[in-house]
Structures are given as structure tokens and as C-alpha cells.
């Protein structure tokens, strides 16, 4: 049945959703369970077409809860797995997303954000789920969330997301948006051998010695798959290194701290940023997703008008690049944060700025991207304070 290449090396003109699906296939994803929802549906549709070509499995489940559950199950079968959705479906996934963090199950969840809250603006852009990505499931945990800004990045970051998820054993989120999901652009898919692939650490020692939740130095425990004979017991209850449930506050402390620490301690490895004009900037635009591209235009306009403006694009949104923001806060006058929400990442920027630099959110709740001139106005404002 394997008839198509997994890696479509070459130059393409495809939209972000399709690029995301191709990225997943290139990363080795062989299982997709999903449920249609605008503007993420094309990811599922592409996977439905392509997975059978490469011997993988596509299934449309009865809802998003079933979708993420099936993805977690597939991951424990040893297969790289993904689902894709938008706000309403993302909300439904929250409980089982938490199960993914608790059981340290590698997988990738794509959220192509539309205008919210609720059904909101199904076909139009929004970035209102950024904080939900961090805090949407109950209990405390750390996550990794990447925000692509182009169709090319929908491809690239999907690979990165799989690699991070395999490396650190957790669900990794791709927080895209309706514009980036539907924008059609040149996407260059490199030859298969040039694509770096990370696979989960596998335990291959004798059965008797295997402790499913005994971490190594990087705080990540090696993994096995169901059916390999290790007879693991995996539970969403607080558990000890054997995986057995425990109700001791100590076990909770050890487990939950480690889940957070494995992300925090490796933040440098995880965080990616793109910067422009930082050398002389006294005002810095902080943005992500489509807003970063709009902000770029505002920077061009501002620089043309003689303003010393820098541009910081968050590719990794979570863990939040605190360190870099704190550094910058010490030497710039203001951060300008254009977002398609009521101010989410702006709060993080404000926290890290710690009063040393001003934080100016430029907000729209979605439906359309900013007019670059709105951002320009904020630059002007900041340049005058």
C-alpha cells in the first residue's frame, strides 16, 4: 500500500494547513485522529489523503475528545501521532491533554486559531487561545508551544514540534492561526536526509529493571511501547517511578515538579526567536504568528520614518522566553505587543519587563489582522514617552 513518498522534497505552493500535514509526514508521523473544524480541517483532509499512501493511519473520530485520546493511544503503540483542531475543539481536548502531560506521552496538537470566544468567527483569524495553551488543562504543568508565521514554518515547526515532543516526552502544541493555516505560499521541502529527526529514547534493557517513570539526567524517562513485553502500567493518577499510583504529597512533589522542570531546565534548547534591528532598538515589537508579519511591516514603516525599532518574533511562545525579555527590558524603552486578542502574551511581557520597560499592547479581538498603521501609532507613542 505504500505508494507515496513521505517527504515531498521540492518546491511547492501550498497553504499552511497542507504544509503542516506534510511536515508531520516528514517528521515521521504515521497516525492522525481528528475531527473537522474550520480553519484546521485541511490538515485532516490532507492527512486522510496522504497517510494511507505511506502506510499510516487516518481516522476521523466522533469528536475532539476521542481524537486526542486516540492520538495518545497511538503514541503508546510506538507511533508518532498528531491531531489538529481550532478553538472549540481545543477546549474539548483540555482534559486529555492533561493526561498526555501526566503520562508523558509524545504527540503533537495543532490549533489553527480562529476568532473566539465560543463559536465566534469560524472562518476568521484570532489569537485568543495563547494563554489557554499554557493553562487550559486543570492542575499545573509546563508545555511547549510553537507559533508558525508562514506556510514554510507550518512545515518546519511541525517537524520541530515532533522532535521536541519525542525528546522531552510531552504533547507539543502548534499555535497557528486562520491566516497562517490558509495562506498559500512557497514551501520548500528539503531532501529527506536533510531533515533532522529525533525519536523518543527507548528503553531496551531487561524487563525486570525497567521503571517507566525513572528519569535520566535530562529529567526524561526512556519510553517503551505497548506490546514490547515490558508490561507497563500507565495512569493519570499521581504515580511513582514504577508508574504505580501514590497518594503521598511527596510523590506529587517529585512527579509534578519534574514534569515542569524538564521543560524549564531545557528552555534554552527549546526556545527559538527571530530578531531584527535589535542592535539599536529603543522600542521592540514583540509578536508571533500572522501578527509578527504585520508588525514587520510596521517596523519597516517606522524605520523609514527614522524610528529605532526592533522586532522580536516568538517562534517558541511557551516556555516563555523570560530571559531574553528581561535582558531587553534592561535596555529598551518599551515593548509593543500587537495581538489578535485582548492582551495575553502582553501580560507575560509586562511581567518580565518588571517595570523597567513599558509594555504597550496593541489589541484586536480577531476577525482581521491589524492595520500596520495601528502598530505604527503605538511606536510613535512609545517613542515620545
Amino acid at each position: 500500500m505504500k505508494r507515496g513518498p513521505a517527504v515531498l522534497t521540492g518546491v511547492h505552493f501550498i497553504n499552511g494547513d497542507v504544509a503542516c500535514a506534510e511536515g508531520a509526514l516528514a517528521a515521521g508521523c504515521r497516525f492522525f485522529a481528528g475531527y473537522p473544524i474550520t480553519p484546521a480541517t485541511e490538515i485532516a483532509e490532507r492527512m486522510a489523503e496522504r497517510l494511507p499512501e505511506v502506510g499510516g493511519t487516518f481516522i476521523q473520530m466522533e469528536d475532539e475528545i476521542a481524537s486526542i485520546s486516540a492520538v495518545l493511544g497511538a503514541s503508546w503503540a510506538g507511533v508518532k501521532a498528531m491531531t489538529a483542531t481550532s478553538g472549540p475543539g481545543f477546549s474539548l481536548m483540555m482534559e486529555n491533554l492533561g493526561f498526555g502531560y501526566m503520562t508523558e506521552t509524545p504527540c503533537v496538537i495543532v490549533n489553527v486559531q480562529r476568532g473566539g470566544p465560543s463559536t465566534g468567527l469560524p472562518t476568521l483569524v484570532g489569537q485568543g487561545d495563547m494563554m489557554q495553551a499554557r493553562w487550559g488543562s486543570h492542575g499545573d504543568y509546563e508545555t511547549i508551544a510553537l507559533a508558525p508565521s508562514s506556510a514554510q514554518e507550518m512545515f518546519d515547526l511541525t517537524i520541530a514540534a515532533f522532535n521536541l515532543s519525542e525528546k522531552y516526552r510531552l504533547p507539543v502544541l502548534i499555535m497557528s492561526d486562520a491566516v497562517i493555516g490558509h495562506i498559500t505560499e512557497r514551501v520548500i521541502i528539503p531532501p529527506e536526509e536533510e531533515i533532522p529527526i529525533v525519536n523518543r529514547k527507548r528503553f531496551t534493557g531487561p524487563r525486570e529493571t525497567y521503571l517507566p517513570y525513572l528519569p535520566e539526567d535530562d529529567l526524561v524517562p526512556p519510553m517503551v511501547a505497548a506490546g514490547e513485553g515490558y508490561r507497563v502500567y500507565i495512569t493519570g493518577l499521581t504515580h511513582d517511578e514504577r508508574g504505580y499510583p501514590s497518594t503521598s504529597p511527596d510523590a506529587q512533589e517529585r512527579l509534578v515538579r519534574r514534569l515542569a522542570e524538564k521543560v524549564r531546565r531545557n528552555a534554552r534548547d527549546i526556545i527559538r526567536l527571530e530578531e531584527r534591528g535589535m542592535e539599536d532598538a529603543d522600542v521592540v515589537l514583540v509578536a508571533y504568528g500572522i501578527s509578527a508579519r504585520v508588525a514587520y511591516r510596521a517596523m519597516e514603516l517606522a524605520r523609514a520614518a527614522g524610528r529605532r525599532v526592533g522586532w522580536l518574533r516568538l517562534i517558541t511562545v511557551w516556555p516563555f522566553p523570560e530571559e531574553r525579555l528581561r535582558e531587553l527590558a534592561a535596555r529598551v524603552r518599551a515593548f509593543i505587543v500587537p495581538e489578535l486578542n485582548l492582551g495575553q502574551i502582553a501580560r507575560e511581557v509586562e511581567r518580565c519587563a518588571a517595570g523597567r520597560a513599558l509594555t504597550i499592547p496593541v489589541l484586536r479581538p480577531g476577525g482581521a489582522v491589524h492595520d500596520p498603521r495601528e502598530i505604527l501609532a503605538a511606536i510613535e507613542e512609545a517613542s515620545h514617552v
Binding site: H12, P52, Y233
Partner: protein, 292 residues
């Protein structure tokens, strides 16, 4: 009259015994029947997986020495579906409670049956939510007391065999934890059956159900199972609903052949992939006008 190891300890996580179930709880018997069924079947246990949701019954996944997944409340079936689809070589058994499978998990139950995924779903029906302390559920008999039906339950329960049969299950049986030998046979049939099979196991919950309903203790319930049951293989599922005071109808109600999910998939896909891959504008590009 005492020795170290029970003959089934090698199939259990014996280091976790005694288990958390109450005195007289039937789940332990159901678990043994599963373990015995598997042992006798001689299928590769390294490739046998037990998936459960949340509840007393769901704790089984943590006591059998197999790969065990104790997932979230209601989601055992979709998790199991992912496992099975990603690795069709696994024997995937879902073991959980009536509330887990038929209340919060009801949708997954009927959809998995519809798809005829090759899963075995074992449902311990103790007529109540045991783990949370005795609330009513979709199998609680009419008029029964529970902590959330203090004046007696007035929601008719599901007839689970009828529900899963109408959804497409190819094997449907019901036994009680008293009928251990028949239950073992049923579990073996269900596990070896290709497609979606469902076994309902009636079980006493003295703590959450019997006590509150003045039905005596677990032993009394076992006596009821022994004396008030009627075995009617092939009974039309619609006629096996459980009603207080009437005979409990047990037996194998459905056992039919229907292509499984994988069989249908393979057949359907076989017609394709004759030509090499060509990038095409999928119809998405034209499906410009879709919403929600």
C-alpha cells in the same frame, strides 16, 4: 494451610495486593476470569493490552500484569482505538465500569461498535458509580436509592446489550460474577472474535449500591445471581433489559460475522495506489467557502 504464591500471581501485579476493592466486591472475580481466560487462550500476553477509564472497575488495568492503561474517565475506548489502529498486532481489551463506559463514555462505545474496530469491551455493571461513593448511573434500576437519587431513581436504565447491538457489535454477552466458568468462556469468545465484542458482567457493589438499597451484602447478591438468573442464548437484545424483581437474562445474545474496521479498510484502499503519487490541487483549494 498457607503458602506464598497464588497460582495466578504471575499474571498479576501481586506486589499491589491486596487490592483496593471492598470486601465482597465482585470486580476481583471479574478480573480473575479475565486473567484465566487469557491464560487458557494462549495468546501472546506480551501483546495483550488492557485499557480502562476511571472507576473501581477501571482499576483492573493496574492489577493485571499486562500492559495496562488507566486513562481518563470515559475515554478508554478511543484510547484503545488509537492503540489498535496504530498497532493492529495488539490484542486490545477495554475493561471498565458501567458509568465510565455508558455514561460519560457512551458515545465512544456506540461509535466503536459502529466501526467494528477489533476491540473487546468488558463492562462491569454494578448498577452504580462505585468509586465516587454510590451515585446513580445509566444502569441504575428504576426506584433504586443512590446518593443522587435519594428519593429513588426515576431514569430508566440502558439495556446495554441492545444499545451496543443496535450500534453494530458483532458479539454481545452478559454474565454475572457468579457464573465464572461461563464468563471465562464468554471472555475467550469475545477476545478471539474479530470485530467489536462486548461482555457485560453483573457484579455486586455492597458499598455503593446494596447497602443503600437494603439488598443485603455481597453474598446476598451472589445468591440472587445464582437463583434469579435465566440463561437465554440468542435472546433478542431488546428483550434483555434488567428490571428489579424480574429474572436476569444472561447468555450470548449476538454472535455474527461482519467485516472489521481493518478488513473494510484494507479492501477499500486496495483499489487505489496504482499510479505513482502526483501532487494535485486537492479540492480543498476550491473549498473556499466553508465555515465553523
Amino acid at each position: 494451610m498457607s503458602e506464598e504464591r497464588h497460582p495466578l500471581d504471575h499474571l498479576l501485579r501481586a506486589d499491589r495486593l491486596p487490592h483496593i476493592w471492598c470486601p465482597g466486591c465482585g470486580i476481583g472475580i471479574a478480573m480473575r476470569c479475565l486473567v484465566l481466560a487469557l491464560e487458557e487462550l494462549r495468546i501472546p500476553l506480551d501483546r495483550t493490552v488492557v485499557v480502562s477509564g476511571i472507576g473501581c472497575s477501571a482499576r483492573v488495568a493496574g492489577y493485571v500484569r499486562l500492559d495496562g492503561f488507566h486513562t481518563t474517565h470515559g475515554r478508554a475506548i478511543p484510547f484503545a482505538t488509537g492503540l489498535k489502529l496504530a498497532n493492529p498486532d495488539l490484542t486490545v481489551i477495554v475493561f471498565s465500569g458501567d458509568g465510565d463506559l455508558a455514561a460519560i463514555g457512551g458515545n465512544h462505545l456506540i461509535h466503536a461498535a459502529r466501526r467494528n474496530v477489533d476491540l473487546t469491551v468488558i463492562c462491569v455493571n454494578n448498577f452504580i458509580y462505585g468509586m465516587t461513593g454510590g451515585q446513580s448511573g445509566p444502569t441504575t434500576p428504576l426506584a433504586a436509592r443512590s446518593t443522587t437519587t435519594p428519593y429513588g431513581n426515576f431514569e430508566p436504565p440502558f439495556n446495554l446489550p441492545a444499545l451496543v447491538a443496535a450500534s453494530g457489535a458483532v458479539y454481545v454477552a452478559r454474565w454475572t460474577v457468579f457464573h465464572v466458568r461461563r464468563l471465562i468462556t464468554a471472555l475467550q469468545e469475545a477476545i478471539t472474535k474479530r470485530g467489536f465484542s462486548f461482555v457485560e458482567i453483573l457484579s455486586p457493589c455492597p458499598t455503593g449500591y446494596l447497602r443503600r438499597n437494603k439488598l443485603g451484602d455481597a453474598l446476598d447478591m451472589m445468591r440472587v445471581f445464582k437463583t434469579q438468573s435465566e440463561i437465554r442464548h440468542g435472546a433478542p437484545p431488546a428483550e434483555v433489559g434488567i428490571e428489579l424483581g424480574k429474572k436476569l437474562i444472561l447468555g450470548k445474545f449476538v454472535d455474527l460475522e461482519r467485516p472489521t474496521y481493518h478488513e473494510r479498510m484494507r479492501k477499500q484502499l486496495a483499489a487505489f495506489f496504482i499510479e505513482p503519487y502526483v501532487e494535485k490541487v486537492s479540492e480543498e483549494v476550491e473549498a473556499e467557502e466553508v465555515e465553523s
